[in-house]
Every structure is written in structure tokens, then in C-alpha cells.
Amino acid sequence: MNEQTPILSVSDARVRFGEVVALDGVSLALSAGECIGLVGHNGAGKSTLVGILNGGLVPQEGRVEVSGKAAVQTAGWDVATARALGLRCVFQELSLCPNLTVAENARLMHEGLAGGAWRARARALVSKTLDEIFPGHGIDPRATVSMLPIARRQMVEIALAFCDAGTPPGIVILDEPTSSLDAGIARQLLDHVRRFVAAGGTVILISHILSEILNTATRIVVMKDGRVVADRPAAEFTQAGLVTAMGTAGREQARRLEGKGRGEVILTHAPAVGLPFEISRGEVVGLAGLAGHGQTELLRALHGRLSPEWRAHADPKVAYVAGDRRLDGVFDLWSIRRNLTVGALPDLLRRGLVQPEAEDRAAADWKARIGIRTPDMGLPILSLSGGNQQKVLFARALLTRAPLILMDDPMRGVDVGTKQEVYEIIRAEAEKGRSFVWYSTEMEEMELCDRVLVFRDGGIVAELTGASITEEAILAASFLGAA
């Protein structure tokens, strides 16, 4: 590697979102003519780092420097400056305007297309770039994006990032660019990345397919818990080495929930993709793997299968703890008490009316048991901290008589103390015979489970039990497929 002055560098960046530290002092320097492979498990801070690089996010501490000139963190670096420098981003979730044509999207992405007859120029530019990257692509630039299949949308988005409309692309960030491309098209893309880098461009490649990273990147940066834990030339890594680098060495094993051996099987489920599985009484089953590989879909499918379509039963078969509190968890305008009891109203009825005394009793009972920190359960739910809101959602599920509780990454953004309290409750409830299916992006929580199902590409690829549930095994299965 030749030592060059970096064209863009981030130094000692720190970002906190409320309780959660997303970046804890990260430094990264980008030079011309290199392809940096950025890897790490969920929540390692990759997206946050990308956010800082593309100007969308201002770090609370740290600096962004362009070609040696310090850009002051508050003012100098924003989306427009980044784009003027030739920085382009292809985001993990598709971010084209679906209602516009390919050419119109190109116009929005590239200020350089302004002026007369921009439609014809945009069409020519997109076609030229698509031909360059994906020969034989068969995409009409006049087509509306929503009419294109997902793989072609991804191809268009990639092509738009590599377009040269006045400002040539300098740094291109590709976040999981191959997730919806088939192998042949993905190879075309990676070939183009190599050509682009050889011609002096810079690429940051984020991918969960480690072989892509190893074959394409010149340098690999491994992130873990908001820090860079390894930053070395790609040639020094192997697949196994990468997986090891993503884990933490010598961490204390979390205390495992005491499995009492498998009880009677209460449910078997065979999803369309991947391995089938079963759930026993009193068991805590963890769903692991990278985010968005089918865990939430499985929870939804289980819930859909077990809950009645038309009327609620007093004896529900299943209860759901939502992960995204604001989206499908709390009722913003209701009191804490009502938020807690809403799942178990059939138990609190008399002659079809809710009994306030029974509601009060249930709420007071769970306030004490789960330790909700509030002077009055009649206060609005939003008066609670995020962690306490999450406890209310737990209590809502546990208050029902459901024998199976589904949890969709419920500990997102919850502080450590609350987590420990909730783990205790899960442990106690499992002992009493309830079963839990627990999707979490945190390794530590997977190690608390009796059994862990690892997801990849929409299905289960590995099942780990007891002592074989280790961070290494989970990482290996989620990045490499079957363990």
C-alpha cells in the first residue's frame, strides 16, 4: 500500500443516540484508489459511520477533514458539500423515487443535468453508465421505477451513483449493494468496482457476503460496538479471520437461562425457506443473524398463525412484544395503566364493561413486579423513559395468559440496568412454563437462550443449543451460512 494523503478522513468521531453509543471514537481515512471493505455485526456502527461520511449526520465529537483542510464539524460538512466532492451513496434500502422514471431520478440525483433538453441527456447518461457496469442490462431509462423488478431498481441506483454528470464520482459508498442481485450481475458490479478503483476512485463496500469483501477490497475495516477493531490490508484476512475479528475475545460468558431440558412441544413451524423448528414448553428460543434476514417476518407469521382474525379470545395462544415502540408498541395518548392492560382486557371485564378496580389491581401488581419507575400509573405513557416504556410493553404481554411470547428485538435502545431486570423476569416466567421466541440483534442476549436459530437470506440456516451457542458460532453461521 502506498502512503497517500487521505482525500477524506474522519477522526475520533463520537455519536450517541440517547442512551446508546453508536460510535465511540472512530477514525477512518480514505485515499484515492482504494476499496475499503467495511464489516461488522448489527449495531457495530457501520451505518452511523456512513451517515457521517455522506454528510447526513453530524458527530457530537470529532472532525471530518477534506484533503487536509479541516472542515469544521458543525458547518462545513453537509450533504451538498459531500456531493460536490463526488461522494455518492447507494443505501441498503432502495432510495429511488418509485413514481418517477429512471431518467427523472437521474435528474434529481445530478445537479449537472440541469438545463434544456435534460430528459434526452439524462436518458443517454443513464444508458451509457448502465452499459458500462451491467452490459446487456435491458433497462429502458423511460420506465417508471416502480414498474421495474427489485434487482433492476438496485442496478439503476448503482448506475446513478457511478454516473458522471459534471461532477465525476470520487468516493462511492455501497451499502449491501448485492443483496438483491443474482450472482452474475453481482460479479459485473464487483468487476466495475475494481476497474473504478484501479482508475483512482475510492469505494467503501459494505456487505455480509465476506467472499465479496475479500475478493474486492484492498483494505478491510472491521467494526464492533462503535469502534474500529481492525484496519488492515485485505490480503492479511481470511474468512475465518474476519469472523473472529468481528467477535470479542475473552469476554465473560453471559449467565445462561437454566434450561430444564425440553418439555412437551407446543408448536412446530415449517417456514417456506430454511429449516423447520419446534418450540417446547418453558423454552427460550433465540432468533439470531443479521438484521432483515427474515426474523421479524417469522415472528409475524407465527403471530398471524396463532391469533384469531375476527375476535380476541380471553385465552390467547400468543402475545407479541413490539420492537419499534413508537411504530407498533405504545398508544401515545393513553396512560401507563391503559397501555399495560390493553392486551388482557377480556380478563378485566364484567358484563362487557372494563372494571376500573381490576385494571388498577393488575397495573399496580405489575408495577411492583417489573419495577416501572413512575409515581402514578395514570400518567401518560410518554412520561416514562424508553426503558420503562419497554417494561410496560413486556408487562402487557405477560399479563395475558398466552403460553407463548414473541419478542421482536425489544431491547433496542434500553439501558443496561433495565435489561438485567427484564432478563430476570423472562427467566422467572420461563421457569413457570411460558415459552419465548426472542429475536435480538445483541449477541449477549442470544447467549441467554436455550436454543438459537440463525437466519440468513430469509430462512433458518443453523440451530445451536446449549454450550454450542457462542458468539463465534452465531457469527460464522450468519456470515458463512450453515455452521
Binding site: C97, P98, N99, L100
Partner: protein
């Protein structure tokens, strides 16, 4: 040339208009003349303009419930100030366009639901209109009057005007960069912001354009009726929304069509005449108009379902 789904979508309002027109001609052959057509369609011109105004708001995923009140307000200003003191009248109308742009800014910055803000504004506009013109009256400025009653050769004014405004609005929303930006905000606001555009400015521009077309609607209306009233256009709110949807637009997602919106407005205007020619009692007309609307929309849903099935295939 292959039929794209967007063209099929646009074919529905044209089809509905053609069927209704055929029905009217069959019931009343005298409508098939120059002055017959003009009578049928001239009240559709202000409705078409108001529908285009609503279309700009809908293309940024908002909804304007004050359209009718605003058009009434404009009509009152046109019949009073613009007639008596043209300069003051023009300034008031310009200021009202500025007010609409400011509404767009407030809605965007404070993340308020547009429905609530515009519902509130509808009372403000109606109040101002009543203050300007407490009882029906006023007079249309002569130049507007003569513009709206001009008799071009061969094709009546109502048809020429409809084609013209559809064309202008199409150029703005479908062909210009500003139009692409406005629809982009409706389609994926985040990606527009990530590309370095100001979503705030785009929304303000959409509201200002809407106000411009609504002002034209109010002026055209006074040109036809020669006088104004504070409640003259209240039904335009729902007509304009129905017209956009009938014309192939969607409430969210920035999928709108200017040509479709104008045809949708003409269809709605014609539906009223058609029902009168049927000698349907006025008590039943509103219900029957609703039934026509449901029929056309059902046709659209059927086509959408076919489109989805083809996508999957």
C-alpha cells in the same frame, strides 16, 4: 408503441368521459352543437383549474380541504377589488399566493398534518370572503368577462381552455425539473433530501403553484357568473379531490397526471348534466354522482389488479 400501465391508467378517465358524453348526446342530440358543448362544459373550466390546484398539493402527499373556500375568496376579491381597483386586487391575490407558500412552509417545518391546517384555513378564507362581500354581488371585470365568453371558430371556448390549461399544467408537473422535484417529494422525500435538494422549498413551490391555479379558478368562475358570493365555490373542495383521483392520481406517492385531472374534472361536471338530462330528481343527483364515481374507480382498481398480476408474472 407498447401500452404502459400509466397510459392504461390515463385511459380510464377518457373512457368515462366518452361514455358520459355519448349518453348526453343520445338523451339530448341538441347538445352536439357549438353552443350546446359550450354550455355543457363552460362551468367545468374553473373546476378543472381547481382540480389542477389540488393536484399540486396531492403530489406532495398533502390534501387541501380549503380549496373551495379559497376559490370563493378569490372570486369575491375578483368581483370587488379587482374590478374597482385592479392594482389593489392584484396585490391581494399575489399576497394570497404568498400565504399558500407560507402554509406549505409551516406544514413542512412543524410537521403538521396538511388536512388539519387547511381545514382551519378554510374558515379563515370563508371569513375573509364574507367580510369582502357580505351578500352576493359585485361585478366581473370586463376583460375577464370577455375572455370567458370569447367565441373561437369551430371549437367552443370551454374545450379550447381545457386543452390549454391541461397542456400548461402537464408541462409544469410532468416535464419541468420543478415538477419532477415536486413529484419526487411525494414519491420518496428522503431520497430527494439525500440528493441535496431542499424539500422545504419544493413543498412551498407546490403550494404556491396550487394557489396560482386556484386564483385562476376563482377568476374564471367570476368571469362566467358575472358576480360572486362568499359560498360560491364551496363544493370545489370535494370536486377537486374527486377529479384528481378520477384522473388517475393517487392520494400518496406522487402519482398524478395533469391531463387526467382535467379530464376527471370534465367528467364530474358532465355527470351532473347527464343526470339532469335523465330527468333524475335533484334529490337523487348527488347519490347518483357518487355512484358514477364509484363505478369509475372500481374500473381503475380492476386495472390496477391486472397490472400487479402482470408485474408478478
Amino acid at each position: 408503441m407498447r401500452l404502459t400501465p400509466d397510459m392504461i391508467r390515463l385511459a380510464v378517465p377518457f373512457l368515462a368521459l366518452a361514455v358520459l358524453l355519448a349518453g348526453v348526446f343520445w338523451l339530448q342530440p341538441r347538445a352536439m352543437t357549438y353552443s350546446g358543448l359550450n354550455l355543457l362544459f363552460n362551468l367545468a373550466v374553473p373546476i378543472a383549474l381547481a382540480t389542477l390546484a389540488q393536484m399540486f398539493i396531492i403530489s406532495v402527499n398533502d390534501l387541501d380541504l380549503s380549496m373551495g373556500a379559497f376559490v370563493s375568496f378569490v372570486a369575491c376579491v375578483t368581483a370587488t377589488f379587482l374590478n374597482d381597483a385592479p392594482l389593489v386586487g392584484a396585490l391581494i391575490l399575489l399576497a394570497s399566493i404568498g400565504a399558500y407558500a407560507a402554509l406549505g412552509v409551516i406544514i413542512h417545518v412543524r410537521q403538521l398534518p396538511a388536512i388539519v391546517v387547511t381545514l382551519g384555513m378554510s374558515f379563515v378564507w370563508t371569513g375573509l370572503a364574507v367580510m369582502i362581500l357580505p351578500s352576493p354581488g359585485g361585478a366581473a371585470p370586463d376583460w375577464i368577462r370577455s375572455l370567458m365568453t370569447v367565441r373561437p371558430p369551430f371549437v367552443p371556448m370551454a374545450i379550447v381552455a381545457s386543452v390549454l390549461i391541461a397542456l400548461v399544467a402537464h408541462l409544469i408537473i410532468a416535464r419541468s425539473t420543478l415538477g419532477v422535484l415536486i413529484r419526487g417529494v411525494g414519491g420518496n422525500e428522503r431520497s430527494v433530501a439525500r440528493a441535496g435538494w431542499s424539500v422545504l422549498r419544493a413543498r412551498a413551490a407546490a403550494y404556491a403553484l396550487a394557489a396560482l391555479f386556484a386564483v385562476l379558478a376563482g377568476m374564471a368562475l367570476v368571469g362566467l357568473t358575472t358576480a360572486a358570493d362568499a359560498n360560491i365555490a364551496l363544493r370545489y373542495t370535494l370536486l377537486s379531490i374527486a377529479g384528481v383521483i378520477l384522473g388517475g392520481g393517487e392520494f400518496v406517492g406522487g402519482r398524478v397526471s395533469a391531463v387526467g385531472a382535467v379530464v376527471g374534472a370534465l367528467t364530474l361536471a358532465l355527470a351532473g348534466s347527464f343526470l339532469s338530462f335523465l330527468r333524475l330528481s335533484p334529490d337523487w343527483q348527488i347519490g347518483a354522482q357518487g355512484a358514477i364515481l364509484i363505478l369509475v374507480l372500481a374500473l381503475r382498481l380492476g386495472l390496477d389488479a391486472m397490472e400487479r398480476r402482470r408485474m408478478r408474472a
